[in-house]
Assembly symmetry: C4
Homo-oligomer: 194 residues x 4
């Protein structure tokens, strides 16, 4: 079973989920200049989720590069993972609209739960492919394979931690989501240059 259609389907979901984020931005237009300034959490949430989806896309890229073939179980786990990716625009809208209001806590929780689930499924994808080198290419370097596994492990814990912070301080939780995103951007870029 060739892996290229999974890549096409996944790239489609990544691209569409990222592009739908822009529909979250709305204004009424009574005092447009003022409104465009006060919806800054909307821009931030847009950038946060777009870049987060972008990083996960780059990482999915890395995983699929090591994978030689796919089986139906792997496809099914990918469907569940992509279901989380495609869900991201909804909590992003909540974060954008409510993080500066009294409803910030459920918004920050919804965002965190979604990202925690996404990162968890991503780890399941990798474990399933890498355990016993089940789906890997014959020439996949074992050291690189181990490195990939290690680098993905903290994701769910980081997001779970940031989610729990929302119960105490939703704004701090939002700041942590941004910090996790920035960390991955820097880690990716430096890793890519090195």
């Amino acid at each position: 079973m060739p892996k290229n259609r999974l890549e096409a389907f996944a790239d489609g979901i990544f691209a569409i989920a990222a592009t739908l984020l822009v529909l979250n931005l709305t204004v009424a237009g009574n005092d447009l200049g003022h409104e465009l300034r006060i919806i800054w959490p909307g821009y931030l949430a847009y950038a946060l989720s777009f870049i987060t989806i972008g990083i996960i896309w780059v990482n999915h890229h890395t995983v699929m590069h090591q994978v030689a073939h796919v089986d139906r179980f792997f496809l099914m786990v990918n469907v569940l993972f992509l279901m989380c990716i495609a869900f991201i625009p909804f909590p992003t809208r909540l974060l954008a609209q409510y993080i500066t209001t009294s409803q910030a806590e459920p918004a920050a929780l919804a965002y965190g739960i979604t990202l925690t689930a996404t990162a968890t499924f991503f780890n399941v994808i990798w474990r399933y492919a890498a355990t016993g080198r089940r789906l890997l290419r014959h020439d996949a370097d074992q050291k690189a394979v181990d490195g990939i596994g290690r680098s993905y492990l903290p994701g769910p814990l980081l997001y779970l931690g940031a989610t729990l912070v929302a119960l105490i301080n939703p704004l701090a939780s939002g700041a942590l989501y941004v910090a996790i995103g920035l960390f991955y951007v820097l880690e990716s870029s430096i890793f890519g240059r090195g």
Copy 2:
């Protein structure tokens, strides 16, 4: 005529239809925590339709893997099939919003009719390709071909049955849609591991 552009177009429709499902989720934000809990049918309908589309995508994958070339009639039947796939977000929204209300019956009927039509067109696609091995690869294993045909046959009947149940009990009908989806997930995963 190469088959890769049909795959690209189909993967696009699958990916977009699945990703548009998230637009069905909306809240007013007066008591966000409460609202996010009471829209649980929305999450369930999202997951149900996303996974259903995912399974159909995996199966389309399987069909196209056996197909060597496509003709214009095959393309046209695929367009009609994809028209059903792209329609799914609409009855999904109905199911999400009305399954727990007095308007549950038409919502459950609309969902079931759409899925029955989708499964029927999917069977037409396969019959057209497989009858007399019209579009199949020369090296397609006849036993695998027969197995595929048998495994797709119950789909329309299962969905038709669940649709008719909506006339008596729409909630039971909704539960049957979930059960059919779960059945296919398990069947796919176990089949994929075996």
Copy 3:
């Protein structure tokens, strides 16, 4: 310059424009069963535009199959053509919502103008590629090339005619759009089988 990215971009636009059509369907949900019946022009317009986009996609497929390479002028004409394709969901919504009301005339005109422009740009694409075999493959059969040119020629005229009918009778104009679509479906399928 390779042609595969034009195909990917075009397939993306075709798939997204076709899938966005479903967003045109909305209900208020007071008497859902009744509402789902009275929005029948919505289903018809959805099917009409989806199938029309599907046919144009099949034909674009045919054109690109004969094309060996692309130049920047060809890309630019394709962008203008795809701009028309991506516009189709808007007049489709107008047709769906107003064809049975007193506002039917502008709705039918908008639909017809869009399809006439689309068919015209499609002819420009083909003429540019085929004139003097500018972008065609060396092994493209001249008889097939001439046949393609002839079969695309009536499109703009048919749509222009149906558009002008809207000035007298918008409903008849809508029926003609359906008839043109059906004609192409049958012509495609029979041509494909022969």
Copy 4:
């Protein structure tokens, strides 16, 4: 690391951002013929942004044609660039709805800032790939490489200039966006024919 998945992801974002533009067009339907005429800025903004995205897509095409491989930093800059592309439907809606109103200034500013950022990131993409021929193909013609670099340089300045004009006269700024688009269309087409 293969470049084809970046192309697939980018083509997806380009195609979706361009196709989502049509959702900006809405009418209330009281006097449809009149409304369809007075929303002309909506059509113009649609065409402007669609063609602008189309031109950037063609140019991204040109860049990727010269690129042999990608690294993680290059992927990350592309993600930031695509984040700007996917943002375009929002300021396009602002331009369409407010350019003929008293709120024209912030709308024209938002559009210009977005396009300036897009053009800037596009230059970063090219500089990163081309400096010291870092990511280029071995057989990339140095003269063509230099020509590409020169042709992309004015973009950010042109858009920045048009943006600043919005502070004095928003309508003139809108006209300049159209002029820049037309300039690139002509430049592309003539360049492509020559």
